[in-house]
């Protein structure tokens, strides 16, 4: 199962039998609005705080994922999830509502692939039959914690990114119909001394490069093995930097095969500056958009590399650099299509 130092290959092929994606009003105006299962008109979701509305997003995504299958919520063994709001409370409250055994994760925007990799590993080792994995984020809740109040009129630099409002959830099972998870590479913290919290793409790019490089080295694969290499939320600057860095290190990936979730979810005309970010960004785009394309047969094999910058407002104010991480998960279309 362990291949090399950081990579798991899953011989039993855990299957993503269903997914649930929920988005907010800004996402509804975006590029991939059709790939959402549920879109909300209201940022508040009729809750009395942004944190509670994030909790609701997570709950809805899980319920949708379960509802799409023939199994009941009680058949699910574990709920593996996390987010980036204070001590991941929105996810914990959602877990309370779900009433499932729960493993809370914190990997900022890399939570989506981390939870997916862990779910696949547990299922591969016969630790469970069904696991719900996913993550959520809320634009206003994240802005409030990491930046300024939502209505504050400070000017953001062109490197800033827009946190996605939404939640994405995948139901991973031992057997069933759907795309299978074939391998996962767990990343190391990469710290290049970047300190600007308004330029997370630039800070996270070397982490993505490190994980992608390790993945190909340890699995003995070539970039041409995958139809698409999908990064989480690097944005314009991070995508360009990481692509150049990969080419410099001898991993040649064609421009059109290297896509970023943060650049897929919104239209260019939306005022998101460098692109989207947030845990839900990679979760929604992967579980919604790219898995739908895989079901249509447009894609056969994808490598999802979600990147996370694991800083806190405190560490930034204390002038610490931003520690970054990236986890890669390789998803292939299941036997029902091939």
């Amino acid at each position: 199962m362990l291949t090399g130092h950081q990579t798991w290959t899953f011989a039993n092929k855990p299957v993503i039998i269903s997914t649930g994606t929920v988005g907010g009003p800004f996402e509804a105006k975006g590029n991939i609005a059709n790939d959402f299962d549920l879109l909300h008109e209201d940022m508040w979701l009729e809750q009395d705080s942004f944190e509670k509305s994030q909790q609701t997003l997570m709950e809805e995504a899980c319920q949708i994922a379960v509802k799409k299958t023939s199994i009941e919520k009680e058949d699910v063994q574990f709920f593996i999830s996390g987010d980036l709001i204070n001590q991941i409370t929105p996810t914990s409250f959602a877990a309370k509502t779900m009433g499932l055994p729960y493993l809370g994760l914190f990997s900022a925007c890399a939570t989506s692939t981390e939870s997916l990799a862990l779910a696949a590993a547990i299922i591969n080792a016969n630790g469970a039959d069904y696991i719900l994995s996913g993550t959520s984020s809320h634009n206003a809740a994240a802005e409030k914690q990491f930046r300024y109040p939502t209505e504050y009129g400070g000017q953001k630099p062109p490197t800033a990114q827009w946190t996605v409002t939404g939640a994405g959830c995948a139901l991973v099972a031992k057997e069933g119909k759907g795309p299978v998870i074939t391998s996962a590479t767990i990343g190391k913290i990469v710290d290049m001394g970047m300190t600007d919290p308004f330029n997370m793409g630039g800070a996270m790019a070397p982490a993505a490069v490190d994980t992608i490089e390790t993945h190909f080295k340890e699995t003995n694969l070539d970039p041409s093995h995958y139809d698409l290499i999908i990064t989480g939320d690097l944005g314009h600057i991070g995508r360009e930097t990481s692509l150049d860095l990969l080419n410099k290190r001898g991993l040649v990936i064609p421009e059109d095969k290297y896509v970023d979730c943060g650049l897929t979810i919104y239209r260019e005309s939306q005022p998101v500056l460098a692109g989207a970010s947030g845990p839900a960004c990679s979760a929604i785009v992967t579980f919604g958009h790219f898995l739908n394309r895989m079901k249509k047969g447009e894609l056969k094999r994808i490598l999802v590399v979600a990147t996370g910058s694991l800083h806190s407002p405190l560490s930034v104010q204390q002038k610490d650099p931003i520690p970054c991480i990236a986890h890669a998960v390789s998803i292939e279309s299941g036997s029902d299509i091939a």
Partner: protein, 159 residues
């Protein structure tokens, strides 16, 4: 400053930062300055209109019309902030909306709105001046320093 900071980093980090800096999109400083100048000037123009209005139609002199003008501008800011317009103007204008009194008003009002969910005492009360607090602290402090310098100059410098 950036170079000094880089010196303490390991060589691979230094190399990456140089690599990255070539690809980073910089803030368009000149464009931002012009936008800030125009929008900031426009806010001052509105302020002048309000001042003139108070002088002509109410019993205020040039001296005393300042206070109601500031209050009116802050009231307008409150409406714009509450309706979610001010942050968009701010993204366009930058310092043009941050430097006039409207920017101070926006900093207070947006914090007050944001922390309403945490209650009125520990939420609004303690977070309202989160952004505007430093302005008050250093405004009072620098006023004190300037007053001290002036006093010393008048006492001993014979100005």
């Amino acid at each position: 400053m950036a170079d000094k900071k880089k010196k303490n980093l390991p060589p691979d980090a230094q190399e990456y930062q140089t690599f990255h800096d070539k690809r980073e999109v910089k803030r368009p400083i000149l464009k931002n300055c012009i936008k800030a100048f125009l929008v900031g000037g426009f806010i001052c123009f509105i302020g002048q209109l309000i001042t003139t209005f108070y002088i002509y139609f109410f019993n205020f002199t040039e001296q005393t019309a300042g206070s109601p003008t500031v209050a009116t501008l802050i009231f307008i800011t409150m409406l714009l902030t509450g309706f979610g317009v001010y942050d968009r103007i701010g993204q366009f204008a930058g310092a043009g909306t941050a430097v006039p009194v409207t920017g101070f008003g926006n900093a207070v009002i947006s914090s007050a709105i944001e922390y309403r969910t945490e209650g009125f005492i520990l939420g609004v009360g303690s977070n309202m001046l989160k952004l505007a607090g430093p302005v008050i602290v250093y405004g009072v402090f620098s006023a004190f320093v300037i007053a001290l310098i002036k006093t010393i100059l008048i006492q001993w410098g014979g100005l």
